[in-house]
């Protein structure tokens, strides 16, 4: 329809009039300078829409357009009225950045249009460039893409972004486990909003610790987990790299911990505001020595809620660190989310060791191989743990060859044991056929629509979207055999592809896009047709 992608509202009245035309998750730039008390009164608004969450379903950027434009033109010495009119161009400049388009055509247009008034031309150009620079300067502005609307089953819905969903998921998990939620984190785009969200939930007993760096973020979380908290640490790629040594410690001392990596464009600082799926291999292998860790990935913004809970459940049940992968696209993208009944969500059983009788720090639960969670302060459980190799059961430092091999295999077996809880995959679409598409993470939406379209054209295609990347679902190998060809679309150079080839020796094909943005349905369909023929 004629719904718009961007709306720039200079005042409350304009907002009221036009917001209905804005697409869900569309970009809404509002001139916050004109949303003061009496502006609202004039527009007969009882509450401030910039604060009352009524605009949650849009990507709201509340910007002091007036003040900033004035600051930008200060030195020009044009009159106030003209300056203020330039704020439109300031906003336009922002749009150009958000859609990374060139300003040149408009620059020429301005020069032409205001030929007679060179100063005005200058002012407008400056304002536009200032708007553009303003977006570039900070990492505040992240383009987000419309999430293809899914079939909505009946229920109560709200708009939900990935970062928000993670935050709510962790709060829920803590409540269901009856534990204090501790988040040790160091801000980094696009993960910072998880910290911003959780820091508001002190009424749920949430403790947020903004650490001096990512290393202190994860090690303080390890300390908190050791002391009995549900501990999480949240970051993006570069920060993840800094946490890898400490991840090894978490593996060695076998305590529950959830690490969230909201992936962004790289390498290095890369493209902080753009999306990518290229941290999978880092999550699987980015540690010294053999240090296996379960890895989960969320497929939609709303799914982040459920993945957060699942990660906490695994961490606590198996006494392991768990890595959760999302990305910039999920983090900032929003979708309608069916609000679950609190009662629908299973409890997460926790039992701190209490009994000194025969207590040994590495005595294991035979089914999960988990060691006891024996927190300081418990009489009679005084014991020592650390990162050196240790004897199983007693936990005493031990360098004996066979014990080391035994411990390495136990740590691996423990992660493998998580497989007990992973449901078999059931492909969407055709249960067997010409092509199986295996995806993970934020490509879920675009793959789903592409598969739907292609199946309507009569092609026999299945779609498996992996939530568990380590361990992989038990029946995946068998499912793969049911199809002639395997396609693995990823926003990286072929990382899951690599894993599947190694594990199943399957000659799968990759569709790899590494442009800081998601797949277009079109791109997927072209590849599908190329593979199964037109």
């Amino acid at each position: 329809g004629d719904a718009v992608d961007v709306l720039i509202a200079m005042n409350p009245a304009a907002l009221k009039m036009n917001v209905a035309d804005l697409k869900a998750n569309g970009i809404l730039i509002v001139n916050s300078d004109s949303f003061k008390e009496n502006d609202l009164r004039k527009a007969q608004m009882t509450s401030n829409p910039l604060e009352d969450h009524s605009l949650d379903k849009y990507r709201l950027f509340s910007v002091e357009l007036l003040r900033l434009t004035r600051a930008a033109l200060q030195h020009l010495g044009v009159d106030a009225k003209t300056t203020d009119r330039c704020k439109n161009f300031f906003a336009l400049g922002m749009c150009y950045w958000l859609y990374n388009r060139s300003m040149d055509p408009t620059v020429r247009w301005i020069e032409d249009k205001f030929k007679s008034k060179p100063l005005l031309a200058e002012a407008n150009k400056l304002a536009m460039k200032a708007g553009y620079s303003y977006c570039e300067a900070t990492e505040a502005f992240q383009v987000s893409y419309e999430i293809p609307p899914a079939q909505l089953e009946p229920g109560i819905y709200r708009s939900m972004s990935g970062n928000q969903a993670l935050a709510l998921g962790f709060v829920t998990a803590a409540q269901k486990a009856g534990l204090t939620l501790f988040q040790g984190s160091y801000p980094i785009t696009p993960a910072s909003d998880i910290l911003h969200e959780l820091s508001q939930y002190k009424d749920f007993g949430v403790m947020t610790f903004q650490a001096e760096d990512e290393i202190a973020a994860i090690t303080s979380s390890i300390g908190a987990a050791y002391a009995g908290a549900l501990a999480i640490t949240t970051t993006s790629g570069p920060g993840m790299a800094l946490k890898t040594e400490a991840l090894g410690l978490a593996v060695a001392v076998e305590i529950p911990l959830v690490i969230v990596d909201v992936q962004r464009g790289g390498p290095s600082t890369g493209l902080p505001t753009k999306t990518e799926q290229a941290d999978l291999l880092q999550a699987l292998f980015g540690r010294n020595s053999e240090a296996p860790i379960p890895v989960l990935a969320a497929s939609t913004p709303g799914d982040c809620f459920w993945v957060a809970i699942e990660a906490c459940r695994i961490a606590i049940k198996y006494m392991v660190p768990v890595i959760v992968l999302t990305d910039g696209y999920l983090a900032n993208g929003a979708e309608p989310w069916r609000i679950p009944k609190v009662s629908e969500i299973p409890e997460i059983p926790v039992s701190f060791e209490k009994n000194p009788e025969g207590f040994l720090p590495y005595k294991r639960n035979p089914q999960t191989l988990a060691r006891p969670w024996a927190i300081p302060g418990t009489p009679g459980l005084e014991h020592r743990i650390g990162g050196l190799e240790k004897k199983d059961v007693t936990g005493n430092i031990n360098y004996e060859p066979l014990n080391h091999e035994n411990m390495v295999r136990i740590r691996a077996a423990k992660v493998a044991a998580v497989g007990q809880d992973i449901p078999d995959v059931a492909p969407a679409g055709d249960a067997d056929g010409d092509l199986l598409i295996i995806g993970w993470g934020s490509t879920y939406g675009s793959i789903t629509v592409a598969v739907k379209a292609q199946r309507e054209k009569g092609r026999r295609i299945g779609h498996v979207h992996l939530r568990h990347l380590n361990p992989l679902p038990n029946n995946l190998g068998e499912v793969i055999k049911r199809y002639k060809k395997i396609l693995v679309p990823e926003l990286n150079m072929g990382q899951l592809l690599w894993v599947l080839r190694a594990k199943y020796l399957v000659d799968a094909t990759g569709l790899n896009k590494i442009q800081g943005r998601p797949f277009k349905q079109q791109e997927l369909e072209v590849k599908i047709e190329e593979m199964v023929g037109v």
Binding site: H53, S54, D56, K57, L152, E153, G155, I156, Y157, R158, S159, T172, T180, F182, Y201, K202, D203, F204, G205, V206, M207, F209, A211, E212, D213, I215, A216, T219, S220, S221, I222, G223, A224, Y226, A227, G228, A229, A231, A246, G248, L249, V253, R338, I339, K341, V342, P376, G377, P379, G380, L381, E382, H383, R384, I385, G386, G387, L388, N396, I397
Partner: protein, 342 residues
């Protein structure tokens, strides 16, 4: 409260079944003995103690303490300890660390923990060397030090751990020496009594890779001549016959003066460990670098009026709960704009 009902603990209660494994003659043995004899005096149940360390000879400390113990990774003990205190503020958390662990790789965590005034006691075993890794110079090694990694002498100027800690807003800083058992125990008692961050530099001898590093202080006689023992409220006097004192000059600096002929205790600086501002402690912290000045040991600064990080953190939570009541999960999930799909 619990203390009332406590079975009184003894040194033995804090010893583990693990063979203590340091080199024969290592200063760490003396520090272990001092800690094991002070802990029982504190009237704190044993399960409330957590000893956290990084990596280094000194960081093996937790294995020999029959308390909760966490031998973490190199340099990160202060951050781990901060997480523990946030969740269980009532625990008695002590960090055992070395000059490399705390000041080299762990420097940032150390200064941030001090800045935040987390209620953790830090015992810095300063042997001016990397012991565990076979003797490289450390951030506290003297300039031009010849070590395995600097055969032609090191080119770094050392940190003064006390000055650094004060610059990082530490509320408690003290210094003692492995072989001064009584003084060391007394210093540990002061540290234990401090609620906020307590930073204790312990001069320790590594007799394998840096033997006699502190000889000028520990050798016979030196103690009285080259060391001054600070005591709150007492004038700054030292010397074998307590014949020297430290006096303020009109320009605010200090000077060493002989006592007698007109100069008496009344003229000397009276040690004020509890001063709210750090300048005086800072002035003392590096006086030994000046000819004729002694090395200060004891408590340089103990200002305890500042709330502990973990307490403020937890109060903030309880305040919000007091104001808003306990969060309602269902309400939270339904927050904002909702609609029904039939």
């Amino acid at each position: 409260m619990t203390t009332a009902t406590l079975p009184t603990l003894t040194k033995k209660d804090f010893q583990t079944d693990q063979e203590v494994r340091w080199c024969p003659g290592c200063g760490d043995y003396a520090i272990l003995a001092a800690v094991q004899s002070v802990f029982p005096e504190l009237g704190i149940p044993r399960e409330k103690f957590v000893v956290v360390s990084g990596i280094g000879c000194s960081s093996r400390f937790p294995y020999y303490m029959n308390t909760f113990g966490f031998h973490t990774i190199h340099g990160r003990a202060p951050a781990v300890a901060t997480g523990i205190k946030a969740i269980q503020p009532e625990l008695e958390v002590w960090v055992a660390t070395g000059d490399g662990d705390a000041l080299s790789i762990g420097g940032n965590h150390t200064i941030h923990m001090l800045r935040r005034n987390v209620g953790v006691k830090v015992l810095l075993f300063n042997n001016r060397i990397y012991g565990l890794t076979k003797g490289q110079y450390s951030p506290t090694s003297e300039f031009n030090k010849k070590t395995k990694s600097t055969p032609f002498g090191s080119v770094d100027r050392p940190f003064n751990p006390i000055s650094l800690a004060i610059g990082a807003e530490a509320t408690f800083v003290a210094r003692s020496v492995d072989v001064f058992q009584q003084h060391l125990k007394e210093t540990l008692r002061h540290a234990a009594a401090h609620r906020g961050s307590a930073f204790v530099e312990i001069l320790q001898n590594c007799n394998i890779f840096n033997d006699r590093a502190w000889e000028s202080i520990t050798e016979k006689d030196a103690r009285s001549e080259r060391v001054i023992q600070l005591e709150h409220g007492k004038p700054l006097i030292f010397g074998k016959n307590r014949e020297k004192g430290i006096r303020r000059r009109s320009d605010g600096d200090i000077e060493v003066v002989p006592l007698g002929n007109g100069i008496g205790e009344k003229d000397l600086v009276v040690h004020d460990a509890h001063h709210p501002r750090p300048s005086y402690a800072f002035l003392l912290s590096h006086m030994e670098q000046r000819p004729g000045f002694p090395t200060p040991i004891g408590v340089l600064r103990a200002w305890d009026d500042l709330p502990r990080y973990e307490d403020v953190m937890n109060e903030q939570v309880s305040d919000v709960i007091a104001k808003r009541g306990h969060g309602d999960l269902s309400k939270l999930l339904h927050a904002g704009d909702t609609w029904e799909v039939k």
